[in-house]
């Protein structure tokens, strides 16, 4: 079992976390000593609305198997509605990725408040599992071929 575990596919996921909600929520998961998989590496941004869709494409084309964008719940954005703008971009991005043949589970937009450490851990866990079952992305074969 141990050998199997170490051999299993470990997806590489880039996480864009807004500093007001999701990043603080992720900090809370740590402070509460909640354990979750190490696959999502966080990048701190001020707002989920700062995430340029090209960052997501850049990540996927550079070897990431998935991208997580996490911000404040709708209505709770520190900058009034940056997260709503993130939703719009995300929808368009999803359509484009679909045309590329990238499974929609690979790129997620999630809401995590500063008090939802548990939720952040669960999001990371389920995303890691989903992408693990999809396997590596293999962007080159998919898009650049």
């Amino acid at each position: 079992m141990v050998i199997e575990l170490s051999k299993r596919f470990e997806p590489k996921i880039v996480g864009f976390l807004c500093k007001w909600c999701a990043y603080t929520g992720a900090d809370l998961a740590g402070t509460s000593r909640i354990k979750y998989p190490p696959n999502v590496t966080p990048i701190r941004v001020n707002c989920s609305g700062r995430v340029d869709p090209t960052f997501v494409l850049k990540a996927l084309s550079s070897g990431a198997d998935g991208v997580l964008i996490a911000g404040c719940h709708p209505g709770d954005c520190h900058y009034t509605n940056g997260n709503v703008k993130a939703i719009r971009r995300f929808k368009l991005l999803q359509r484009m990725l679909n045309q590329f043949g990238v499974e929609k589970e690979r790129v997620r937009l999630e809401w995590v408040s500063a008090s939802e450490g548990e939720r952040y851990a669960r999001v990371v866990e389920s995303m890691t599992e989903e992408i693990r079952s999809l396997g590596p992305l293999n962007w080159k074969a998919m898009v650049e071929a």
């Binding site: 992720a26 900090d27 001020n46 995430v51 990540a59 709770d76 520190h78 900058y79 703008k85 008090s115």
Partner: protein, 652 residues
């Protein structure tokens, strides 16, 4: 010229080092391009730790610094300062979080070390592209906005106003005083609540530096530390505040009586009323829903009797715009709704009452003049006090409301003092944690209260034998005796838990502050910054942050005041320079950014055919940066290059 980067991997005692192999991470860092020195150290935030970084900057000529330790929320300011002290621009520093988001969440040391390398690698790659930035300094407006006129807000207002600063104190109700004004005695000293509160209320009312805005609320709020703007809605009282002298004649003459909210509906008030005699301000309000003039167009008795001609049925809602430099939210709590616990029969049995109703019964100026009476006017012979109603209960609130044990003891004491009734207290655990609290508990033990350890399962009027007939039967498991007991009583007092105010969501939205899982307002740090919030210049105090007793509320009110005064005395504050800038050459004039900015910071210059950002309005969300199709907008310290560097490093 290649950068010379210094990398410092912190052990944080064993917080990081117990999982992360810090030496291995430092060695890995040293293998990355441009890293001149990489060290691991036990406590990097300590004085010697900071000195180590400063020495390296001076002696090795470092041009960039990365510290991998706790969350940037914790020590980013510390290390920026240290870097700045050594003569390097503070923004040529990057922090990597390998504690909250690495060592503490990792199952194994192997995984933690691998993750730490990824996180540190990303920070090192990024720091190459960090730029020296100048912080903008802005003056701090010395006016202060305090929302909530309970004991917490009162304390904060007086502390600040006494120092000579202007305070706008906004209270939703017609009077300040909050819940404390409705209490009879306060535990554990049994001081009369009014005796210690009303002098403070009067001081607020008379203070030259406090502008008391009662019967008002904040409808709009914007700005940033040192420079906030608030719009305050002043609801019409239908009484001219300038003219009214508070004589109370209108109240006496008003022919219409309705249940008093202040007395929990147990007593009556008039349609023109002050909630209680010592209300501050002592100006009455007309209850539009009941007043005969507003409902039927008749009466006008108050107009006839008012010696000052202060009644004004035409009064309209008014708005007041104020500029302040800091804000204290002291909006308090709401009591748990007792009717939610169906098995306790509140609302069904007349003699099942809440602890607040008990306060009004036992209050000398309450509806019974301080007598503890049953609904039929008789004295109770047996009284049950039920702890933890709505608290420590997974069906309602999981948290302990902190104050109920002690005020339940006070309830028992007052019942003993005023009646001959036998008292039963049903408790889960007795929490007597404050100064003089355990002693108070001991005193009640001597006063012959019967304590039953166990949560009450049911309160019923279904008698099983003649002794129970016509009475309320409290059914509870006595966990010390291991038996279920049925105790017939005449009066049940439910010790209600404290909850976030029903409008806490709306208030949190207006002021853009976070809330914790239980719905109370979220502090910046539970131990080290209990009255600060994630937003600079905005503070929270008292029970809006979580249940608190009076001493703790007063202490927090004073603490928030000290924070505010410290901010004002700094005279100016530094703003994060993470604002967006437009590259004039690259802007194509498409105007996409103009409509996106939530702060109207972007305007369009028709002559030059390009967008222009007003720096002072920009809050640095970066929404426009992500949207610009020409890549003409950049966010300082979060440039595309910096963020892509992180992405590339993580994916490599």
């Amino acid at each position: 010229m290649a950068e010379k980067i210094g990398v410092y991997i912190c052990h944080c005692g064993t917080n990081i080092a117990s999982k992360v192999d810090c030496k291995a991470v430092a060695e890995y860092a040293l293998s990355l391009p441009n890293v001149a020195v990489a060290r691991d150290y036990q406590y990097t935030c300590s004085d010697p730790g900071q000195e180590m970084i400063k020495n390296d900057i001076r002696e090795l000529g470092l041009t960039r610094v990365v510290v991998a330790s706790c969350s940037p929320l914790m020590h980013e300011p510390t290390f920026r300062r240290a870097v700045g002290d050594a003569g390097l621009n503070p923004f040529l520093f990057q922090m990597a979080n390998i504690r909250e988001q690495c060592s503490w969440i990792s199952e194994s040391g192997e995984l933690a070390t691998a993750r730490a390398k990824t996180i540190v690698g990303a920070a090192i790659t990024r720091v190459n592209f960090n730029e020296a930035l100048e912080v903008q300094k802005v003056p701090v407006n010395s006016n202060v906005l305090i929302v909530g006129g309970g004991i917490t807000g009162i304390e904060a207002a007086l502390q600040i106003a006494d120092s000579g600063k202007k305070v706008y104190l906004v209270e939703k109700e017609p009077t300040i005083g909050g819940y404390m004004a409705r209490f009879d005695k306060t535990f554990p000293t049994l001081d009369c609540a009014a005796c210690i509160l009303t002098p403070k209320m009067v001081s607020v009312g008379q203070h030259p530096n406090i502008e008391l805005l009662s019967y008002s609320d904040v409808t709009e709020f914007s700005g940033y530390v040192g420079n906030f703007a608030a719009r305050i809605r002043r609801r019409p009282r239908y009484v001219d505040e300038e003219k009214c002298n508070g004589c109370g004649l209108c109240e006496q003459k008003c022919p219409l009586s309705v249940p008093s909210e202040f007395d929990c509906g147990l007593g009556k008030r008039k349609a023109i009323y002050r909630p209680f005699p010592q209300a501050v301000p002592s100006i009455p309000v007309i209850d539009r829903e009941h007043c005969l003039y507003f409902t039927k167009g008749i009466c006008k008795v108050c107009v006839k009797f008012c010696p000052k001609g202060a009644i004004d049925f035409e009064q309209k809602e008014k708005f007041l715009d104020v500029q302040v430099g800091s804000v204290i939210l002291a909006t308090g709590f709401d009591l748990f709704d007792a009717s939610r616990v169906k098995e306790y029969g509140y609302g069904k049995f007349a003699n099942v009452i809440t602890s607040l109703e008990f306060e009004r019964l036992t209050h000398a100026s309450g509806p019974t003049g301080g007598k503890i009476l049953l609904k039929n006017g008789k004295n109770p012979e047996t009284v049950a006090i039920v702890h933890c109603v709505g608290s420590r209960d997974q069906n309602y609130n999981e948290y302990c409301s902190r104050v109920c044990c002690m005020y339940s003891l006070k309830t028992a004491h007052l019942v003993h003092e005023k009646t001959d009734a036998k008292v039963y207290e049903f408790y889960i655990d007795m929490r007597a944690f404050g100064k003089g609290y355990e002693e108070f508990y001991k005193r009640l033990l001597r006063e012959d209260v019967t304590f039953v350890r166990g949560r009450v399962a049911e309160i019923t009027d279904v008698a099983q034998d003649p002794s129970e007939k016509g009475r309320l039967i409290v059914v509870a498991e006595d966990t010390l005796l291991g038996i279920v007991r049925r105790i017939p009583v005449d009066l049940v007092v439910l010790s209600m838990g404290l909850e976030p105010r029903r409008d806490a969501t709306q208030v949190a939205h207006t002021f853009r502050i976070g809330r914790s899982k239980d719905g109370f307002f979220l502090e910046k740090h539970p131990k080290l910054a209990p009255v600060s919030t994630a937003s600079d210049g905005m503070f929270i105090a008292g029970s809006c942050q979580g249940p608190k007793d009076i001493p703790d509320s007063v202490a927090q009110g004073a603490a928030a005041a000290a924070n505010v005064l410290s901010l004002i005395d700094r005279k100016e504050v530094e703003l994060e320079p993470t604002i967006a800038l437009i590259n004039e050459e690259a802007c194509s004039g498409c105007r996409i950014c103009v409509g996106l900015c939530p702060y109207n910071a972007i305007t369009f210059d028709d002559n030059a055919n390009r967008a222009v950002i007003t720096n002072a309005f920009c809050k640095g969300c970066g929404v426009c940066v992500a949207a610009c199709p020409s890549g003409a907008i950049e966010q300082q310290n979060f440039t595309n290059r910096q963020l892509i560097a992180e992405v590339e490093a993580i994916c490599a």
